[in-house]
Symmetry: D2
Subunit: 148 residues, 4 copies
């Protein structure tokens, strides 16, 4: 538990929805990317950055890469905990990684990561240090490198 | 609030996910049916009926009709409360209705209803009274009519 | 078939996706609203109105009500035809109805309707006759009433 | 084009749905996994293997890993072509890779891959050579290695 709290991390709990299952009887694998995002949203909120507010300032954060490993299936009505952690930051990009747990037995069901750029409405890349200083400073304080 | 607790009702809270928005900047209208279902799942749980358990007994509850009215848009990061209420029951069908509120100002964003049958794995209709007596008795006690 | 071509109608074909199924083994009912929308998009295109272009002119068309009846389940890999038809128009609102067929046996799986308003970016209602004259004239020529 | 036809490949075309967009105005990144799957389904069909039939024989093919790179955004109403190609096969696992193109200018929007196991209904791994010989032989003929 302590390990999960360390660094720049946040978590959300959610209950698996019927619509998230597929005919194999498991959660369809595409939904994990949506769950990752829910935990990432919470992490931004913890930093005092609401994603909605960033967008209102014309800052968008598209996903440029994503990956996931599926270890054990999640099922309908399972209570799930998703942990997002800031993993790496460069001048213009940031990477988060994720862990998905089944709450009742703390079983790790999936892991993953996403890489994000920051762009303005015209699609031009933005410097994190200048445009999202809260994120930059928080990463520095957590000892997360900003080397490329 | 008191009104919401009356009868056979249950509610869930959820935070709007980014993937649920569309390019209009609002939650896409199809997601409300998924939210309705989350509250219906909770209502089944309150009755001691987990939907997963029903399915393990070979009882399925397909949606035969659904409708929704969209009054005000939900937006990314909004905290939402969805109330499901058992509305009507006949020998083989049950109807739920729903209300979707934005928590911060208790604003009613949408209403809707779904009608469900109960079938076995071969698709044959099941009598609620016989196969799901917990649901039948709960509805009776709540004064919810079982006339056709 | 002839009947389907009459009036202001359009159709799309689609193959059921695995992610659209749920653990009951059928297409989850929320997806039909998304399929309705795909056929509605095609109908707008047939009128020379791309929905993307409307939005670039600051015209949005939120769904204010939707309903569906589910007659028979759609299954993974089924080829599906969705028909959208302009049903009714008033000064500020338009209603479409839909039919969902399984192509291999022309079986009607579902029907439904959606009601739409037209608003600008500030959320103010727009008059169809003035702001979307192509739609207004097409409805007139098809004999679709504009009474409230 | 010729390159795309080579080996064990298949493709599908699809039109971006409104529900697939998010408030950034692009297709939400989770949908690409669903598109990959649509092309993979087609590839299975080309091999004479319908995925539905595999499941009716008690053969399931869960995704054990997935990744995607997002190069350029897809937008509402874009016509998209998704190419799936069998990339690697071992005794018990198979990997596909994917390319997503915007049809109008043949622009490559995204790439990705998925790794799959094969299991029975009890979750036990199945040997591809024995249980899905059509897939095994097709891979052999296409020169796709079966080394681990």
């Amino acid at each position: 538990m302590a390990e999960r709290e360390a660094g720049l991390a946040a978590e959300v709990e959610l209950t698996v929805r019927y619509a998230e299952t597929d005919q194999m009887g498991f959660v369809h694998h595409s939904n994990y990317l949506i769950w990752f995002e829910a935990a990432r949203t919470r992490l931004f909120q913890r930093l005092g950055l609401t994603y909605s507010q960033l967008e209102s300032e014309g800052i968008y954060s598209p996903v440029v890469a994503a990956d996931a490993k599926y270890l054990w299936p999640a099922r309908y009505e399972d209570l799930i905990r998703v942990v997002a952690r800031l993993d790496r930051m460069t001048a213009a990009r940031v990477r988060f990684n994720y862990e998905v747990y089944r709450v009742k037995d703390d079983k790790l069901l999936a892991t993953g990561s996403t890489m994000h750029g920051f762009i303005d409405q015209a699609g031009r890349p933005l410097a994190i240090k200048k445009r999202i200083p809260l994120l930059w400073e928080a990463a520095k304080q957590a000892g997360i490198g900003s080397g490329s």
